[in-house]
Amino acid sequence: MSVTTIADTARFSPVGRSNAVIKLLGALLITAVLVVSADPVTSGIALLGQLLLLSAAGQKPLRLLLTLWPITVAALISGWGTAMLSPEGGTVLLNLGWITVTTGSLAAGAAIALRGLAIALPGITVLLTTDPTDLADGLAQTLRLPERFVLASLAALRLVEVMVKEWSVLASARRARGAGNDRGPVGMAKEFGGQAFTLLVQSLRRATRLAMTMEARGFGAGKRTWARVPRYGRVDLYTGGAAVLIAVSALSVSVLLGTHRFIWQ
């Protein structure tokens, strides 16, 4: 299962149908709470809440974590690293001379891994379940961000796909010229640089032409109207409410248990 097929099913789920702005604000709220909190209880509850929300929305959270394995692995590795190096006390579980793993350091490691996952997940959920056009509409019309900037970014985003395709064409075009023979880091870096330079030149030209197209279609001439209206409905109430619930409950449970710790404490 690739990321795109996940994205396809995700867009039709209740979370996917929610308004982009609501999702973005909800994700920002959860992330903000997690960024300032350093304890494992807050991250654990927030992560659990998000996974519950995702499965209620018809997603398979474990499969999502598997598909996005680089992030999962990164979280696990940083947790492992912390467990190895953390100086905290507790029962000694493993002693290899210079590495000592204790219950305390293990807990610190788990906290780091949980926190990493819990912080990454809201953003990924928004990315996977949101159509860029809808997000742009919301940003410009609801949040009143500068429309020129939002629309230009949206148009540029489309060209990223073109660039990805061009990269592989460039690789064979250059091999056909006999480039890329040099093994070793210097030769490879040089070849990569050359290919990247050509891509850059092409991209700049493309950007110029796209700007010309947009100008010819009256972009930036003055006040504009919008063909699409961002819609808000019952499903947004649920999604927004769920996000607030996750953020508030993670924070309050941790505070009540006396485990909560701010990042600066």
Binding site: V169, R177, T213, E215, A216, R217, W226
Partner: protein, 523 residues
Amino acid sequence: MTSHVAVDQRGAEVVLTEFGWHYPGREQPSLNSVSAHIRPGERVLLLGPSGAGKSTLLHAMAGVEQDPDGESRSGELTVNGVDPRDARGAVGFMHQDPETQVILARVGDDVAFGLENLAVPREQIWARVGAALAEVGLDLPLDHSTTELSGGQKQRLALAGTMAMRPQLLLLDEPTASVGEQGAAELRDAVERAVAQSGTTMIVVEHRVGLWESVVDRVIVLNDDGRVAFDGPTREVLGDARELLQRQGTWVPNWTPRTMAPPARDEQATPLLEARGLAVSRTQPGSRTVARRRRRERKAWAKGTPTQADIYRNENVIPAAADIDLSVRAGQALAITGENGAGKSTLALTLAGLLLPCAGTVHATKALAGDAPADPSLWEGTELITRIGSVFQHPEHQFLCSTVRAELEYGPHQAARRGAGPGVDEERIESLLARLGLGGIADANPFTLSGGQKRRLSVATVLASAPDVLILDEPTFGQDAQTWRELVDMLVEELERGTAVVAVTHDRELITALNAVELRLGA
């Protein structure tokens, strides 16, 4: 401001008075005291040699041309009596690159974009979007992805987006240059319908006269120095200016430039490259897997152990083309033809050893492979360029150096460094420069050349390594008649020399001029 423009008038009036354009730092002006009066509803075909300022003129009329120092412009140009820069919305403009004419991800949103910018009330937008899509014959749902459209469809989408804005002047800058033959005819028909319905004034720049002859009622021909050479009714000008147009490299109807005679067909000529039961696909293993396979297979080949190349094949891939058997023979031309999406380019890349087959084999005979393995996909870059030269569709993808001369020397230099060639043959380089008319610009940066010069250079860079097989992807696509003739002569000379030429092409004239055997895919 747009309020100056009379809204009830359907087509715009364009008046050029001694209009000129001289870019800073250029010796010659691009446009030189051009005067013309284009009446409302007139349809004009603008012709001239490449570099004569046709695009500059269209850009100026669209109000999108940048005047870097404020002094490039001279004389006067008005659309409906006002400066075009103040008549935005009254002027619609299309250029030749389909990829950058699409702005948004969904078909409906893309057409609506211009209407939003003109501040058309939301209630009216979707009706106008639907009407514009119907007019250009794009029968697609509004939420259809724009990425999935073909080049021709993208151009028609751009036309819909432009016509929805109800321009009074429609400017088309080589709209069919990147579109196949059928797509070009469909686009032309869509333009004709749209313009007839709206009474819009239209000016089109194109070098395929035959395509637009029936649509336009006036032809303006520019000279080398950016002056008007002919201006009048279509039939009259096409008759009077025929010789000038041919010299300028314009494709006038019923004419093919005269080229050198190709060698006779010879089915007994030495085979160089053979494909058996070949199936090809763009879906390939990752680049690391391919490199690892290459190393492992090379080792096995050096030891003389049998090849295991098949283990990397993916059975689940749907091939772009399958069951292909062909022979590429020395001194003979092979043309690969077929509809868009029939897998022609993919086949060319696979023959060139740049993609792995998904079934069957590509086999280089002893005459071609020499002391290298028989599977071209195992060759090192330097082994490849002295055996098979591949010319890609976009010349710029293959430029590696900062001057024309360095570009030509690159291949031989690489080969010599790795002991696979005799080194840079200055005589061959000089003769290539001379043959291609690139001698005067040997120190120019390849990226700054004109379209035709880039195409000739991209072929020459490959010829510099003297490959035995030359594989070209749409070499004549979008080229003017002048470049076309030079390309064909160059390829015929290579055939005479015993080089095999394989061309992916839509161009019937090229197939005839090379006396090529045709392999039609998807038939």
